[in-house]
């Protein structure tokens, strides 16, 4: 069932459906917004982390004697100073707070230093003597399951099988392929940072940039051996996240140093350390076979995919489930065979990044659809439309898609957009730009299409909820509201959305967003494109309670109306462990892209000329922010298509800097025209559909399809590098 969005007008300006300015906007443009790395406390000291230079080694000794003698050093801590559980992790508690007798990836934390100046800490770290017995690292995800076990249960983190329909049906047209996705980094600009302030009663306050305050708190308290109420977290300014702040980085470390020294401790990673300090997008190897009849109708899809989880599990189990359940894309297929594997290796740990398993599968299945189109002599759009999922379609898991799935419409929208003018004569608009590498000679143009699917909210039976508190009182003779949650604003604009919802629901214009902290209940994770849906739902529900108590009054005198409530989306189910069947997901989001590229075939340089997108967002609560999410997500997809990869060699990272890990600049990004569909989902608050992730999925394969169209090359790996185009 699809509903047309009801007209929800607000009695005051700045309600939902409009684009009011962000409440933190002025502070941010003035340089006065307090990010985690901006915090300062009287008498604070600086923390630093000694990390392993080896991807895999036994630690035979750690000697901190000389480091402790450095003037200005307050503490040097190792695993023996961790008072609670020295293991943490989002799904499996397998990662040490500080390494004990083995390190499993380059950059694994071994010791901490607290000192009066960052430089003092660096000098002291150089005096810590660690001896290693270096071991041969496990680095190949395809053979890791049978290699040296890195953890007690072996190297297979999770296998998700999906079996639907016939497993041995044949088809008239068959295309196969092997695809690779490189390791992408979130590259949020605000480095991992925080300030831990010890209290005299042995408790601690942590001001932190994170995506989920309560799960951080629970893991920190367990490591510190403290009850949860003695670990208080407050969200400080977050400089982007994109999944990279779901796991702990310096949280426990700063608290350990603070409790040990009795001083406030600030920790700020630099960019190199940031590359070692958070998980990345799983690199993947994916084998696909698509079978279709002569009309282009898919008969079957069979795939085997490997996702490299690196040294620790992080969110690998959920990433594998996404890759599997979304593994055929937004298409109807009756016969499906999927096996997705997440593996431990000694590569950098991988976990959440925008798109979360759907990106890797998306590159592969969309490459296959293009291959199928070519084999059939059909256009890339026609073969997709021929198989496009609609409302009522059945997923490979057996789940029926029970709200809008306008896959064909999205493709047609981007197909019908005007094409950009022909190849420019301005060198600034040619591949290579002002490097002046071509004036148009050797430049060929291509156009590519892709469409993708993403699950929204947490899946597989997880009890996914948020808590919101709305307080109303009189201020200067008028009703004013405050909204309080523990849901993390990481840049996406949740603070604005919460204000808009309160304005619409209560008709109160003046809405204050209180600091996000752990004095209120769980807000859930800022991930899976879920905060507007779930925390938005909680704020709406809290407003309903307030509205009942207001009972139409516009003057409540000295009364304070203060309501807190939890809100849940509809329940999901676990996947059957043998067949992968089950209603595992809450909602599906769809986006389509058309990319136009110019390629200098002599030098292997690519310029993306346009990158247009159409996406269904259910209902755009803040149209400006929605378009901003789509453009930003598309840009990260462009990065994966043509430049972004953490390159590893023998488990070691070769490019941990913004000099060598390239993210798109304003010169790399083309104009992006965005079409926003609003086909309300009747199950979701206001009909919204999560918006952040879908554009990251279809952007990459559309660009690679355009490069293939321009060059005629097969291009089975992203990012596409110049040598892939020149063959040199």
């Amino acid at each position: 069932m699809t509903l047309t969005p009801a007209e929800l007008t607000s009695a005051v300006s700045g309600g939902i459906g409009t684009s009011p300015q962000r409440p933190d906007g002025n502070l941010k443009v003035r340089g006065e917004f307090a990010y985690a790395s901006d915090l300062w406390h009287e008498d604070m000291i600086w923390g630093a982390t000694l990390r392993s230079p080896h991807p895999y080694a036994r630690i035979t000794s750690v000697d901190i004697t000389e480091a402790l003698k450095v003037p200005g050093v307050y503490a040097v801590l190792t695993h023996s100073d961790v008072p609670g559980r020295n293991l943490y992790g989002l799904e499996h508690k397998d990662q040490p707070v500080l390494a004990v007798d083995v390190v499993r990836y380059q950059g694994e934390p071994i010791a901490l230093v607290g000192a009066d100046h960052p430089e003092t800490a660096q000098r002291a770290m150089k005096k810590i003597v660690v001896t290693y017995d270096v071991l041969e690292p496990v680095v190949d995800m395809e053979t890791a399951a049978d290699d040296t076990p890195l953890h007690p249960g072996g190297n297979l983190v999770r296998h998700v099988p999906i079996r639907r329909g016939s497993q041995d049906v044949e088809a008239e047209v068959v295309v196969t392929g092997r695809y690779e996705v490189g390791m992408q980094d979130q590259a949020f600009l605000g480095p991992e940072s925080g300030l831990a302030v010890p209290a005299t009663d042995g408790s601690v306050d942590l001001y932190i940039a994170t995506q989920w305050l309560h799960v951080d708190r629970d893991q920190i308290a367990a490591a510190l051996g403290l009850p949860q109420e003695q670990v208080r977290l407050t969200l400080s300014g977050v400089g982007g996240a994109f999944g990279g702040r779901e796991d702990l980085s310096m949280q426990v470390h700063a608290c350990l140093l603070a409790l040990h020294t009795g001083k406030p401790v600030k920790m700020v990673y630099n960019r190199e350390e940031s590359f070692y300090g958070h998980v990345h997008r799983h690199p993947a190897v994916l084998y696909y076979e698509h079978g279709a009849d002569h009309t282009g109708k898919l008969v079957y899809v069979r795939t085997r995919m490997y996702l490299d989880g690196g040294a620790y599990a992080s969110s690998t189990p959920a990433v594998v489930a996404n890759a599997a359940t979304l593994g055929v894309g937004p298409y109807e297929v009756d016969n499906v065979t999927i096996d997705a594997y997440g593996l431990y290796t000694n590569n950098p740990p991988c976990g959440a990044m925008r798109g979360f398993g759907a990106v890797q599968a998306g590159f592969a299945y969309e490459s296959q659809m293009d291959k199928l189109a070519e084999a059939l002599g059909m256009s890339p759009v026609d073969v997709r439309v021929r198989n496009a999922m609609t409302e009522g379609s059945v997923m490979p898991t057996g789940q029926v898609v029970d709200s809008a799935a306008p896959v064909a419409q999205l493709l047609k929208l981007v197909q019908d957009k005007p094409l950009p003018a022909g190849t420019s004569s301005d060198i600034r608009e040619l591949p290579g730009g002002v490097s002046n590498t071509t004036h148009g000679e050797g430049v060929v143009r291509g156009v590519g299409f892709a469409v993708g699917i993403k699950n929204i909210c947490f899946s597989e039976g997880y009890d996914d909820y948020s808590t919101a508190r709305v307080r109303v009182s009189m201020v200067n003779g008028e009703l004013a509201a405050a909204v309080h949650t523990a849901a993390c604003e990481v840049g996406q604009g949740l603070v604005t959305i919460m204000q808009q919802i309160v304005r619409t629901e209560l008709g109160i214009e003046r809405v204050t967003v209180l600091p996000m902290d752990t004095t209120i209940g769980n807000g859930g994770s800022t991930s899976a494109s879920r905060q507007t849906y779930v925390t938005g739902g909680a704020v709406k529900a809290a407003c309903a309670l307030v509205l009942a108590r207001l009972d139409g009054r516009t003057d409540i005198g000295d009364e304070i109306i203060d309501e807190t409530t939890e809100w849940r989306h509809r329940a999901t189910e676990a996947l059957d462990p043998e067949t992968g069947q089950g209603n595992a997901h809450v909602q599906y989001g769809f986006a389509a892209h058309r990319a136009v590229v110019d390629v200098d075939v002599d030098l292997g340089l690519v310029r993306v000329v346009s990158l247009d997108c159409a996406q269904d967002v259910g209902r755009a609560l803040n149209p400006q922010a929605v378009v901003g999410q789509i453009q930003g997500g598309s840009a990260q997809g462009l990065g994966l298509a043509v430049m972004e990869e953490i390159q590893t060699s023998g488990g070691k990272v070769r490019n941990p800097s913004f000099t060598d890990y390239l993210i798109p600049t304003v010169l790399d990004m083309p104009p992006m025209s965005i079409d926003v569909l609003e086909l309300a989902d009747p199950h979701a608050p206001y009909g919204i559909r999560g918006v952040g992730e879908p554009p990251t999925i279809s952007s990459t394969p559309a660009i690679v399809a355009a490069i293939r169209a321009a060059t005629g090359l097969a291009l089975t790996r992203v990012p596409v590098r110049p040598e892939h185009l020149t063959g040199t």
Binding site: G25, R30, G31, Y35, W40, A241, G632, V666
Partner: protein
């Protein structure tokens, strides 16, 4: 060492500065001006862009000692009291601010561009901002903001 520098029109002094400290560290940690950001500290991202004697520089690449007796203007020095500079105003209005970590550097860089080129073309804007990384927006709304600011100045 001691560093004397004019920052946002005020004479400032920082004591006990280690010779290896950058202008960025001195601004953020010694002078209470954390508006200039520490995203890469290697001159690649532009988030620490400040004016040094009217020329935009990456504050992370300037040694603290180099600013002795010179003038620095940071993002905190652009607004006139409560009233934002037109570039700042346009960034908020156009939706060019998401996480905002790149914003201080981009605002200073765009401010400099519009001082030099009041009505820049799109390629001129792109070239001027090419040293400033943004991870959230895909740059489209940053371009909108610069165009909007140019139309108002």
């Amino acid at each position: 060492m001691r560093v004397n520098v004019t920052v946002n029109g005020e004479q400032r002094q920082a004591d006990d500065v280690w010779e290896g400290e950058s202008l960025l560290f001195v601004l953020r940690e010694r002078l209470g001006l954390p508006g200039s950001k520490n995203a890469c500290e290697q001159g690649e991202c532009g988030s620490c862009t400040v004016y040094l004697d009217d020329v935009p520089v990456c504050a992370c690449l300037v040694a603290a000692g180099q600013v002795q007796d010179r003038e620095v203007r940071t993002v905190e020095g652009l607004a006139d009291g409560d009233s934002l500079d037109p570039v700042q105003e346009a960034f908020v209005e156009a939706g060019a601010v998401q996480c905002g970590f790149c914003t201080p550097g981009l605002v200073v860089q765009a401010h400099d561009l519009l001082d030099r080129v009041p009505n820049p073309s799109d390629p001129e804007i792109r070239e001027a901002l090419a040293g400033n990384l943004c991870r959230c927006t895909g740059y489209e709304k940053i371009l909108d903001a610069v165009r909007l600011a140019a139309s108002r100045r």
